[in-house]
Amino acid sequence: MKQALIATTVALAAALAAASALASATVGQPAPAFTAADTAGKTVSLADFKGKHVVLEWVNPGCPFVVKHYSSSNMQGTQKEAAAKGVVWLAINSTAPEATDFKAPAAMAQWMQGQKAAATATLMDADGKVGKAYGARTTPHMYIINPAGTLVYAGAIDSKPTSSAADIASATNHVKVALAESLAGKPVSTATTKPYGCSVKYSSGA
């Protein structure tokens, strides 16, 4: 009886611990709905873009891996190519306010503008709700949602997990490939890859 009680308590504790952990967005399942404010304070929801492809990019200007893709214009190029095909691109920053590389909304908008990014909107997710709903672990971490609202890709931006911009040219850009396949109505051939980058600096209060 006592053992059962202990076992139940442990299981409950584990469940609670897991509950504060990352949720489980899964490729092939409906993408979790979310609402967040963009850098200008306007509310943006995933539901606003029903019927279109949506790319989610977890970004943190303080991370060398994000800088790898922005300083080489690789991320901006991917964004522009997507926008030309009518794809919505949401850059999301889930860095906690207490983190050393936190950027306030205005500074974030300024950085994106300075980088000449072509994202549809930059969302501030300081409490980490959106990041945790998607299980975003790294910056960058890329997700693609199809017009029916299904998650069709989750993982890295490209196939060479290094911090050197010189490796971009010889790497496969997973997002470009997945978008091309999904826009053509075909299933995505590489639907999950291991993302690489710095860890997302989640707020510990959430």
């Binding site: 060398p64 029916a148 609202g149 989750a154 299933p187 690489y196």
Partner: protein, 705 residues
Amino acid sequence: MRSVLFAALAAPLLAMAQGVSAPAAVVTTPQVRAELVAHAPQGLIAGQAIWLGLKITHQPHWHTYWKNPGDSGLPTTLAWTLPTGTSAGEIEWPAPQRLPIGPLMNYGYEGTLLLPVALTLPAGFAADALEVKLRAEWLVCKDVCIPEGGDFVLTLPAQAATTGHAAAFEAARAAAPRALSEARATVEVKDDALQVRIDGLPASWQGQTLRFFPETAGVIQNAAPLQARWQGSQWQATVLLDPQRSASPTLMPVVLRLPAEQGSVVVAATVQGSWPALPAPAPLPSLDAANIEGSAPAAAAVSLPWALLLALAGGALLNLMPCVFPVLSLKMLAVAGQGADRRALLAGGLAYTAGVVLSFLALAGLLLALRAGGEQLGWGFQLQSPAVVAVLAALFMLIGLNLAGLFELGSVLPSSWMAARARHPVVDSLLTGVLAVAVASPCTAPFMGASLGLAVTLPTGQALAVFAALGLGMALPYLAATAWPPLARALPRPGVWMLHFRTVMAFPMFATVVWLVWVLGQQTGIDGAGALLGLLLVLAFAAWALGSPTLGPRARGGFGMAAAALLALALVWAVPLLRHEAAPATSAAVSERWQPWSPQRVALAHAEGRMVFVDFTAAWCVTCQINKRTLNDSAVLAEFDARRVLLLRADWTRRDATIAAELTRLGRSGVPVYAFYPPGAAGPYVLSEILSAAEIRAALSATAL
């Protein structure tokens, strides 16, 4: 003599040279001090191996990563430049420690670390010294991450021993996980977790809490707490799989570590069972011409203005449905009978329109709110509940009896209500609009289930706009009649024929009741249908008793009491029966050809290489019944048989979360839906709402195996 002296002088000098590393062997950054070190106690002997290593001393709280860095980070990489014939092995990683960061988990090292690598000298090695060049890159993080690297050069003497870092290499060897040859480990893939079972661990380990580190990245949820237990001498653990898993290995080496640096082992676990296929998401309907022709309202790519126009037309058509036609026609005749007060007439018309539009918005809003709240609902949801069907049947019955003349509302409702109705014609019209939607909504599901099901999946604003357009279309004929008197004048003059017409209109109402009883029968079985019929009978009696204009007050009182008592009895008897049958009553739908749908059946068919065709249907869906005739066409069935297509039917007559989830996956939320599921990675293909034999044949040849 001189050579001995030289050697005596040289040896200590050489020894000193080893103690003080060449400057190029060390790289210092603000976060780490990295040094290329070596261990060659017997010097360099041809064909033998010596040890090289990268020694990293981290500043406090900074860390680098293990071969599997966990949720983020990158492992340290070593790229050697060696003389020909010399080969370097892999890094012998010491057992890592867990580095939690918020809800994430990494595996790596803090403090001092030595990454040893075995270097094998070629058989013909005869040089005096060996120059080793290394390009090392590491990611060092605290709360920010800094990718760093360094170029190292180390020259090793062939004749002298290199033992300056013997202690560090010994510590690294002790910290490296020991390969246990006697251990047997299996990993079984079960649902969303791995069941790990390891036998043959050291006896002293039993009962202790072990740390678990998989060497394969991208498989498990690193941050999830480990559920581990000892079953005698077997260590068991349940490890959750990463929902965004990117690897499906057949062999999983795992490192197990005792707490507090007491030792670690590495065991190669064989993976049993098969990995769940990384799901292929459903693409959009993509059978081109075959799909687009018949389904303009259902295609996901339809533009909003076009959808609104179609909704408007659909709403106008609703007026012809047996549910709505009687109500509308009587309202129209009332317009014909009224006098010249155009403004009052128009006000009434606008109020009716408002009532209709607001009711549709409320219904759609309710559905969207429930869906947002996680309910697995689709259009037609109101007809999935036997209670709702019963109430609707009662409502239609009463309306039919009223039209047939069995009772008059004036006799039933208190006179104050009737007076209020007369005094507030605008409110009366508004409520009539609400009533019209109440009687119309069950008729929309049968004919427009799929289209409205698609509308519900649009963004909220667009979905509500479509429903508002539907309401507007439905109210349009009446609004037109009230707004343009010439239209009203075109209607025939009132006369005796109006009474006959009114009575005739009762019959479409009764027809609707028959259909609703059939739907209820599908949901609750024959007993439930019988109960409803009994209830309707007693209701009719009560309506006559309380509302017949021919009865006097005493007769009314007497019959009224009897009716009330019977009604109470009937409710007590009938209500418990109006519940979903425990066993699904889908026997009518299941024949030898059509089997009940389930995801497992689809998976089994795919395993056999068979294509699957699924018919998502419901008893209350009239379009589905119409399409059934196409599906039962002998030519179509012959085609299905020839291609060994498995025919499955998903019956959504009553609420079913699995079916609702699958409909959502296909981008729909109403029936009918017809989908082909080919085996292999290609996703399901959805056909149009109105099936035609040609479309099915085209789809079959397009997805030909």
